[in-house]
Symmetry: C2
Subunit: 226 residues, 2 copies
Amino acid sequence: MRFILLNPKLNINDKIFLKDPETSALGKKILQQSILLIDEIGFEAYTFKKLGERIESNESSVYRYFENKHKLLLYLSSWYWSWVEYRLVFGVANLTTPQDRLKIAITIVTEDAAEADISEHIDVRLLKRIIINNFMKTFLTKEVDEEIRSGFFQIYTRVIQRVTDIILENAPKYPYAESLASTIVEGALHQHFLKDHLQSITSCNSCTSPTDFYLSLIDNVLKQNV
Amino acid sequence: MRFILLNPKLNINDKIFLKDPETSALGKKILQQSILLIDEIGFEAYTFKKLGERIESNESSVYRYFENKHKLLLYLSSWYWSWVEYRLVFGVANLTTPQDRLKIAITIVTEDAAEADISEHIDVRLLKRIIINNFMKTFLTKEVDEEIRSGFFQIYTRVIQRVTDIILENAPKYPYAESLASTIVEGALHQHFLKDHLQSITSCNSCTSPTDFYLSLIDNVLKQNV
DNA sequence: TGCAAAATGATAGTAATACTATTAAGTTTG
DNA sequence: CAAACTTAATAGTATTACTATCATTTTGCA
């Protein structure tokens, strides 16, 4: 809610969409119902035709907003990382010690979506689940280099860079700050996934969260790299 | 080569295939040429029809070995993790100190495929690239719980558990051994991917490898958790 | 208010995908 | 050498991932 109010410009790369879905009622419905539908049936089974039926509109209308469902997923991903970035920037803004800033930063990029985080048409809790289950698929394609060049992953990389910078504030000589940041951000999604599906290879459960694990990890690294 | 000789039974869950591809010339051709074709055009564009043409056989013949391309990818993944497990088991077998065992284990699960690792019909170097680009897709489906129950990810989870055990040998009281192991194994694939496509968010490049990063990481963790 | 432009909805059509079924030909092996 | 099995070839179906066209509705601004 606050997020939307303070971010009228979401800053999503405009090559991702044909027509900005935030500018019309139908567009918002497409976003909202896509999230519900992808969460229900999975991204593979999700089609624009099924979405069209669900929103009592038409396949062809959806195609006027997004070229294909991959672009729509890129849009949702950008929205999600934009939301993380917002919370990251404001979360650390008033903190003075590097240690506090790092602790909050790691918490924000690894924690569960809180229940209250529901903006008008985007259910962030469901969106986070979609990101956990699908974000890697936006990367793992033959077209990834082209799409990186087009700036489709800019917001995501900016989030990683912000975390990297905060790590370096704490340990200026640590030589693997970028890899540690990307490992934590991507790894947290993976740990959430394992917690839901493959408990035997994660230490995370109802008592221990990915955030606990990564806070401990970063603490161990920093103590060795002051 | 040695791997194939010492592993006549690859131990791949037999619900993954309809007919074991290792038992016929056509089956081996399917594996070999699938690896080449997926590497060339990507898993999304890869179809059994294209494969059929390429091996001068027929779509319908391929379907007698695998229900669909997802199962084939599961097969290739199992083959890969089986190969990692083999190297892991033999790599640490004669090492007496926990420290050495851990160092070698982390190296094996994070390093590049060496050029020499080419068995008869499987080019392990290409296979590794396919795993980097596609392994997460085998997980990220609506059917994952069912497939885990069917044992399709058994070899992978066994690899993670072996790494977990070796971590615990070194730090018996460390509370996040499973998560650390899964973060390293999955994260190493991701770091290899970033090194190839998104250098700005990884510290890995031609001088620094994912192995360097994770060896340093595990060293930091252990020094804090003796 | 009224008309032009824009947005949406409905239908149809195409090429490719992901299969299944059938049958014929070739190969193996007991 | 015949039965059993494997493979090859063809055809066919339902679904997907679009594109094109046109009619209808909504809007925005003169």
